[in-house]
């Protein structure tokens, strides 16, 4: 089962390596990881998606809480708002540009760069939406993809 873990950390040197090391030492593969500063630039939030045994995960979370630079660890519920950002460079020419623009429109994506032979498109959404979009782009020829990990916030209060 997949778990989304949110970890608030002091923005110190080496924290990231220590946190990632804790998961890999226990046999968890990190499927997605995003790290960014919060409203306080001395504090970062890491959002990690791992799959694995629930009991071992509980142990890992306890160990995380003991790390000196870790402020707070919690698991994010399935009902939270989750988003992922994708940049994709796709082959395009004047013949297929209209078709691409139609897809971009339907998925509420954005074209953020264009050249004679390619386009860079930005899209945000949950994982399913992003995978569906990538699948529809495949016939055009995907040249490059960059994707952030998933971040999440709880709904309401």
């Amino acid at each position: 089962m997949k778990h989304t873990i949110s970890i608030l950390v002091e923005n110190h040197f080496g924290v990231l390596a220590r946190v990632a090391g804790l998961f890999s030492a226990r046999g968890f593969n990190i499927e997605s990881l995003a790290v960014g500063e919060t409203e306080d630039d001395t504090i970062s939030r890491m959002t990690i998606i791992v799959s694995g045994d629930e009991n071992i995960l509980e142990q890992v979370m306890k160990q995380l809480n003991k790390l000196i630079d870790v402020i707070k660890v919690n698991e994010i519920s399935a009902s939270s708002v989750k988003r992922d950002l994708l940049l994709v460079k796709v082959s395009s020419n004047k013949n297929n540009r209209k078709d691409l623009m139609q897809l971009v429109d339907i998925f509420r994506a954005k074209i953020i760069d264009i050249s004679s032979g390619s386009m860079v498109i930005e899209i945000t959404g949950d994982e399913d939406k992003i995978l569906a979009f990538l699948e529809l782009l495949t016939p055009f020829g995907i040249k490059e993809v960059a994707r952030t990990g998933i971040i999440a916030l709880s709904r309401g209060h």
Copy 2:
């Protein structure tokens, strides 16, 4: 000086911890890190922003290239397309909702969740845009922030 490093890696267990460890062993603080799968789900792309000495960075990149699961390492030029995704939960009530919606409109952000006392807003952009948006939201009362690291793709070919 800030450097944006893009690293293609085999999606294996522990790669992330090894790569992060290499940077921290050399005294680099990772300011931002995003990891996501590429169009090939056995391969992930890590985008790392570090600041530090250029010569040492060159050594780190050489060492990265020697890691068994690392496929390709390159530094991304300043002219590339860079994007970051922010989710922010902000206090709102019926009196200030209109003001918030106006800001969301101007910044081409999106409201993705709303409750009687708060809103969750999604915004993408470069770092300056995101920081400017956060600053304007501050008077309303920021409750929570989650941010992906920056990802980047080169322009054109």
